[in-house]
């Protein structure tokens, strides 16, 4: 479903050309839960940007759902993100003065969906992400970190994306809440979602089925995770 072939990415700064990704190739099947792991500066964030259609590769191809999206103009990329990708960020990126429900429904607004449908789907997504209904009308600034990340996960799920991309989703959380969030991803995976987790922590990566290790812009390891850690997000 995801096919990355010989993807390179260069950043030019004046006359200096820095090659961040040096020909990365891999495939991800529908329903997989993979972790992309690497130290900072390894190129994993750049890879995530390309996977999330926020950026395009300098060379090589990236196909999502059978469509090559490696050379699309910006607005086309925006449409791909709107339809197929759900992002979960380390910093949550919620609108602080808006209610939980409005935050979650925001992607559907850009999809042009009616209010009633938006709110219905936002509620479903929130319940799927484990945030009980009584908090749906709270302002996001009133929530705890764990709750904020659940809202962000719900927002990533609301457009029923082909992949959920989580960039260091536990980075701003204490370990107990972090485990709960990882449990949520595992439950979503069990329900058939394709989840890609980007992290520098082996502990976090060990929750995935498969681990890709990136170092200095190259894919150095692609292995099945034999000793998978399991978490539950039961509250």
């Amino acid at each position: 479903m995801i096919e990355v072939k010989n993807v390179t990415k260069d950043y030019t700064n004046g006359n200096d050309v820095a090659r961040i990704l040096k020909g990365v190739s891999f495939q991800v099947q529908k329903g997989e839960f993979i972790a992309i792991m690497g130290p900072s500066g390894s190129g994993k964030s750049t890879l995530m940007h390309i996977l999330g259609a926020l950026d395009t590769p300098t060379d090589g191809t990236y196909s999502l759902d059978g469509k090559d999206i490696s050379a699309l103009p910006e607005d086309e990329l925006a449409r791909i993100r709107k339809a197929k990708i759900g992002f979960v960020f380390q910093a949550f990126h919620l609108l602080p003065r808006a209610t939980v429900l409005r935050n979650v429904a925001l992607p559907l607004l850009y999809a042009g969906m009616d209010r009633a449908d938006r709110e219905g789907r936002a509620k479903e997504a929130l319940l799927a992400a484990g945030l009980e209904e009584e908090r749906h009308l709270h302002l996001t600034s009133q929530l705890s970190g764990g709750q904020m990340q659940r809202v962000a996960i719900a927002r990533a799920l609301v457009n029923d994306p082909a992949i959920v991309l989580a960039d260091e989703p536990t980075g701003n959380l204490d370990s107990k809440t972090g485990d709960l969030v990882l449990g949520t991803f595992q439950r979503l995976h069990a329900q058939g979602r394709t989840v890609i987790l980007i992290t520098h922590e082996p502990y976090v990566a060990e929750h995935a089925e498969r681990i890709l290790v990136i170092r200095d812009g190259e894919l150095v390891e692609d292995k099945k995770n034999a000793h998978r850690r399991m978490q539950t997000d039961a509250i």
């Binding site: 926020l54 950026d55 607005d75 449409r79 609108l95 607004l109 042009g112």
Partner: protein, 406 residues
């Protein structure tokens, strides 16, 4: 994205930070309010001056004696110094076609005594046609008649200010005696107040028959000036030409350059005055316009700050699928909403200031609908112009960098 949803996002964007939105609007509010108020002052003074000019009479032509020149030398004693107009001239002018009324007028300043009170004011010797040429009304009693002119009746009609001075405020004047130059006159009427008009205050005047004026005060048949009322505005220049022609003929003057009289057209006075007020209004409007411009720059400044502050939000919106147009639409919409709201408040405030100036300061103001429309249009345009650059800047942000922005 649906347009209603865009509007809602715009509203939420503006209303979620009320203090800042309010301060941003303030510049526009002040700008628009000052445009409205300044134009109202300009319009008001223009209307007042026009009313003043109307109060001397409408469709009025004033015939005045010309310069008096010594024989052979060109020393002028000034306009109106010659005594060249007679009552017969006035009678002749009445027969010109297009003339609806003619009143000869001779003015003299005299001391007036009544019941121990006295005042110094102008005495106008004239005919009953004066009421029509000068748009004057009688409040009490009556004006003198042609018969009283023929019989040189010692009767007087006084203005309300003169009445107040001589008989106390609102005092009973009709039937009372007043003395002018030791001659006793009977007051037979009081004119209606016209308000202080700029040129001569008709409320502080005593009107007597012109025959009495020429017999007892000036001693000859000459008149100070002749007021001619044209039947309508369109015929004024035609009537003006006819007056000139007729008087030249009556005075036996062949060369119009040597005319011993001049004819002033009221619409000339009016247009001179209105061009002066126009300049005044323009001056006020340009001052107000500058404050509006400053308000617009304030909007741009605040929108740029907003875009910087909300960089991460913009990045997020882009990440979840907002297209460039939608980002531009939101930020441009917020700028326009701020200016339009500011504009509406400014219009209200401008009205308030204009009302206050008139109610408490006595400055005549008049809010023109055109200036309201103009102010509103200008504020919307300011929103568009000064909101566009920040909105463009927001849409051009790279989502990756925007998300990482601290």
């Amino acid at each position: 994205m649906k347009i209603t949803d865009l509007c809602e996002e715009i509203w939420l964007g503006v209303s979620s930070n009320k203090t800042r939105s309010g301060l941003t609007m303030l510049g526009i509010v002040i700008g628009i309010a000052s445009v409205i108020a300044m134009l109202a002052v300009g319009q008001g003074s223009k209307a007042q001056i026009e009313a003043n000019i109307q109060s001397i009479g409408s469709n009025l032509l004033l015939v005045q004696p010309g310069f008096q020149r010594g024989a052979g030398i060109s020393v002028s004693a000034g306009r109106g110094s010659a005594q060249s107009l007679t009552r017969e001239d006035a009678t002749a002018l009445a027969s010109i076609s297009g003339v609806s009324a003619v009143s000869p007028e001779t003015t003299s300043r005299q001391q007036i005594v009544a019941k121990g009170q006295n005042t110094n004011t102008s005495i106008v010797g004239t005919t009953p046609a004066y009421l029509e040429t000068r748009n004057l009304n009688i409040a009490e009693g009556s004006f003198f008649t042609d018969a009283q002119i023929a019989s040189r009746g010692k009767v007087a009609v006084i203005g309300p200010t003169t009445r107040d001075d001589l008989f106390g405020e609102g005092g009973d004047a009709v039937g009372q005696k007043i003395r002018i130059k030791n001659m006793e006159f009977t007051v037979i009427g009081v004119t209606a107040a016209k308000g202080g008009s700029g040129f001569t205050n008709q409320d502080d005047t005593v009107f007597i028959p012109i025959s009495v004026m020429s017999t007892y005060f000036t001693g000859n048949d000459m008149v100070g000036s002749i007021a001619v009322k044209a039947a309508n505005q369109e015929r004024m220049s035609e009537v003006q030409a006819s007056i000139t022609a007729l008087l030249l003929q009556r005075h036996g003057i062949a060369d119009p350059q040597q005319a011993d009289f001049s004819v002033l057209n009221q619409s000339d006075i009016a247009s001179a005055a209105s061009s002066a007020t126009q300049t005044f209004t323009l001056l006020l409007a340009s001052i107000a316009g500058i404050s509006l411009l400053v308000g617009g720059i304030g909007i741009m400044n605040m929108m740029l700050t907003t875009v910087t502050e909300r960089t991460r939000e913009i990045g997020l919106r882009q990440a979840i699928g907002a297209e460039k147009e939608e980002i531009v639409g939101q930020f441009l919409g917020e700028a326009i909403l701020l200016t339009v709201l500011g504009g509406l408040i400014g219009i209200g405030l401008g009205y308030g200031i204009a009302w206050g100036l008139q109610a408490f300061m006595g400055t005549k103001t008049q809010v023109a609908w055109s200036s309201v429309g103009l102010a509103f249009g200008v504020s919307a345009v300011i929103g568009l112009v000064f909101g566009y650059y920040p909105a463009r800047r927001a849409a051009k942000l790279n989502p990756i960098q925007a998300l990482k922005y601290e």
